[in-house]
Amino acid sequence: MTIGLLRRAFLLGAGLAAALSGAATAGEYSLTVDPVTVDTGAFTRSGIGYNGATPGPVLRFREGEDVTIRVTNNLSEPTSIHWHGLILPFEQDGVPGISYEGIAPGETFTYRFPIVQSGTYWFHSHTGFQEPDGAYGAIVIEPTKREPFRYDREYVVQLTDAHPHSGNRIMRNLKMMPDYYNRKQRTLFDFLRDTREQGFDAALSDRSAWGDMRMMPTDIEDLQGFTPLMNGKSSAQNWTGLFTPGERIRLRFINSSAMTYFDIRIPGLKMTVVQADGNNVLPVPVDEFRIAVAETYDILVQPKEDTPFAIFAESMGRTSSVRGTLATAEGQKGDIPDLRKPPLLTMADMGMAHEGMDHGAMSMAGGTHTMPDGSAMKGMDHSKMAMPVGAHTMPDGSTMKGMDHSTMDMGTSDPFYAPGSGLMPTAANGGKFLSYNDLRTQKPLYPHREATREIELRLTGNMERYMWSINGIKYADAEPIRLQYGERVRFKFVNETMMTHPMHLHGMWSILDTGKGKWNPVKHVVSVAPGTTLFMETEVDAPGQWAFHCHLSYHADSGMFRKVIVEGGPEGKAAALPVKTEG
């Protein structure tokens, strides 16, 4: 942790020295915001892009440089660009009404900020529904130091969900009829099948339990009808990344979707997760991972055979998918697997098992495993592991087989889902599915310390009115959240809805509490599953005012959004807050 601090200090120092001497490496970039045509193969519609395309270009920055980005608005409406995950002065954060007033039609706005981090990020419009309409691009920042992993080539894999309807129309339809886009509702035939399988009484009482709540167990994605795209290409259009057998390839996955979570796998290849939300993590070999909206994950793969491999991203509700290919020659196509059976939400997802979700006092199916160092072990349900003959007894009394982790069903014990949740992911090949519990930061950015206070944020909503809110209050009616510079705030998210919410705090890191102390992963989006409580901590080190919201476009827009004001700060660093004139 001292090293993390030192690194920050070094970076700050270097930045300062560079600024004073005027010798900083300076990158100049320009972007135009343009009306474009989105062609998914399934449909064509008008949308918004950058430099004439959606997704926009990959912006490549270098850690330590000062960037100047000129953004010209060629639209007939105002726009904005938010640099998602970047640590920068609040005036440069690009949220209209919070950071600045936005960019008027025909105008050019010049962003200037130092790059103080490295990794994979992205940028997008923060105005209206321009982002779901196509206004996004990728950011890759080269570190000053050597990466803690080796690769021979890299690709950005940006996932998006194109919809035939414009964002405004979708929002209006949802307000008129909240299940407008749910075409996976349970039907008479589902009832007949359930009656056959579970008996009439059970089927009826299940229907009546959901009917009582006026909610649907099939309502996982909130919105359907998307055509997912990989780097702007649908399955048929087949985005292709070339490789030479034996090469190690870094794939920078970015989920720039409006609403869609993806489960990603590359059948035939083990993936090693090396970075999450731009920060390196201790490498985790996995078979499959789920990427929440607005998250990024960097993975390494090493295909050794001269054969195409499908990169397959399946939506969490299994209503859509996209395939791209890692190929040794253009024109090759990876096989498209069948969509798996859609999950159903359970009463656990409705918050009926809330008490069981306290990470601090989680009871495991097989009893909590107390480790020799006195810590309790989470997320490893040994009782469910198959034990072959000759199993070894561990000091903690648990037994352990010959350690074939690749076939352990780890997915059934992900503590970041409500116990019994229908959303609990499992890998298609029965192998390892990444959990938040597996993420350990490679470089703690801050010393680990007790939070100075806790702020509870209940994630709330009214599905029938398509209203989303925090603590029951939507953004339009809410007071800002006021934080003091220098404090470490512990946010307690209590998800009282049946949707999964990717919560995104601008300007400061979100340290996800996985119970690993200083190794807790450092993120910019934390996904809160239904029926769960999740904690994240933030070192309040960025004066100014910032946006804090659910990154599902239609949830943010309908009110699951807050302004955060960071008050105070050292002399010369405190922001000139508009709030001071307000008061």
Partner: protein, 185 residues
């Protein structure tokens, strides 16, 4: 008992445990006896008196300097290994298959708290050693080091072998922390 010997014992124990319990995976690289890595196919612990040269290995996060080794057949080398990274790393000479079989072992140690990202938990290691009723011995083909620590291996290479040096701390091999041992006449 000194910490290094406990460590060695635990590593050895876990290593031989891997050999016993996942036989098929190792059939190619080992005769599967109780002596673990002491297999002529990968070479053997060297006699310090016969060392022909010393090679310095620096371990970073997560790669080695140098990234590959040129060794003469039958040569005895003293490896001075320094961990200049911020995480625990291993320098281990074996075949790719043996490394592969070793990795789940290291995963087990990490999951049970013996192997922490930047330190080795000796309390956990002791507890683990106590429960292992068999085959405690130091393994001469590998050294596991906390950040800032250094260690030594003296190793006599065989005539023909397809060897790698590698770090099997979970995720490190996969992200490229391994190199070829090129054996020449």
């Amino acid at each position: 008992m000194s910490s290094s010997s406990i460590l060695g014992a635990v590593l050895g124990a876990s290593l031989s445990f891997a050999l016993l319990s996942s036989g098929p995976a190792l059939a190619a690289g080992s005769h599967g006896g109780g002596h673990g890595m002491h297999d002529m196919k990968i070479g053997k612990p060297g006699d310090p008196a016969k060392v022909s040269r010393t090679i310095e290995i620096t371990m970073y996060d997560n790669y080695y300097e140098p990234e590959s080794l040129d060794i003469k057949e039958g040569e005895t080398i003293r490896f001075v290994v320094r961990n200049a990274g911020e995480f625990v790393h291993e320098f281990n000479i074996a075949t790719a298959a043996m490394h592969e079989a070793h990795r789940p072992e290291m995963m087990m140690m990490m999951e049970h708290g013996v192997l922490e990202p930047d330190r080795i938990n000796l309390e956990a290691a002791k507890a683990m050693q106590a429960s292992m009723g068999h085959g405690m011995h130091n393994e001469a083909n590998s050294v596991l080091l906390e950040p800032g620590k250094s260690g030594e291996i003296v190793w006599t290479f065989p005539k023909h072998a397809d060897l790698e040096f590698a770090c099997n701390v979970p995720g490190h091999y996969e992200t490229g922390m391994h190199g070829k041992v090129k054996l020449s006449h």
